[in-house]
Symmetry: C2
Subunit: 165 residues, 2 copies
């Protein structure tokens, strides 16, 4: 097993099996506010499952990670999606993995462009939030209440490493 | 009627009648990710009313407004809340008004601190998004589908003005 993960740019196509890229596109869906504002509409599939489940807005304030990042754990939320929206124009690192029989397979690593966010679909294996620069402030849209266990973690025997410059 | 609105700093107390201030506070609700991340949990009252109603994540890309800003129209969404989360660390102008018999009363003007967002409660009169600097990029969490008319506008005979330096 090669423990080094190459980083790719984040694109909707490459990320489609894991979730949504929340980003501007060439054409807005609506032009609003007397022409002053473009609206790019309904960009994420939000999920919140189980009795009493509810979506909410939270803030995450994260320390910055340095290169090389050792990816030793991935987690998933079977009962809800989870969106990360950066509140500064800084790229961040996104790691996801396909499920292989109830545990993460070989992860993929993506670097966002400034202004891109992501939404992990329910059940997608992902690494924890990895801010690389800036204030590390993110708005998170996820399931904030509801019955049932919504967190599953998997620790790798040998961590993967992700390096950037 | 004094057409000039003074600008106040945005605080949760002053904004409580209109919506939620989405911002860090002194104590996180949870410390997560092996101590690397503070979570400030469930900061906004999200509302999405009517048959088939659903919340979503959209992006707004707004032109910047210059001082003095002429506030000539306010709007409200009777069937849903609307949250604005800046995706850059730039302040923006927030205008709201109490309802007076089905139309906006005298507006209040607030300047956000960097990293603050707002969530207008359903039915709150507010001015349109007014970005003042930076890329003008915002994530918006609001009702993206559902039956019923969710927009009401009111045009002032005499606009209010809001000036900053």
């Amino acid at each position: 097993m090669d423990p080094e993960l190459a980083i790719e740019p984040l694109t909707a196509e490459r990320f489609a099996a894991f979730g949504d890229v929340i980003a501007l596109s060439e054409m807005p869906d609506f032009v609003i506010n007397q022409g002053y504002c473009n609206r790019f509409h309904d960009l994420a599939r939000l999920e919140s499952l189980g009795a009493g489940a509810r979506l909410g807005i939270s803030l995450f304030q994260s320390q910055r990670r340095t290169s090389p990042y050792m990816l030793d754990m991935m987690e998933r939320h079977p009962l809800g999606s989870q969106a990360f929206l950066p509140m500064s124009m800084d790229p961040f690192l996104v790691t996801v993995a396909p499920d292989e029989g109830g545990r993460p397979g070989r992860p993929l690593a993506f670097m966002t462009a400034p202004g891109q966010g992501v939404n992990y679909h329910a059940g997608t294996w992902h690494g924890v939030l990895t801010a690389l620069q800036g204030p590390g402030l993110f708005a998170v849209i996820d399931r904030v209440a509801g019955a049932g266990e919504n967190l599953e973690e998997y620790w790798f025997e040998t961590p993967y490493s992700v390096a950037w410059s």
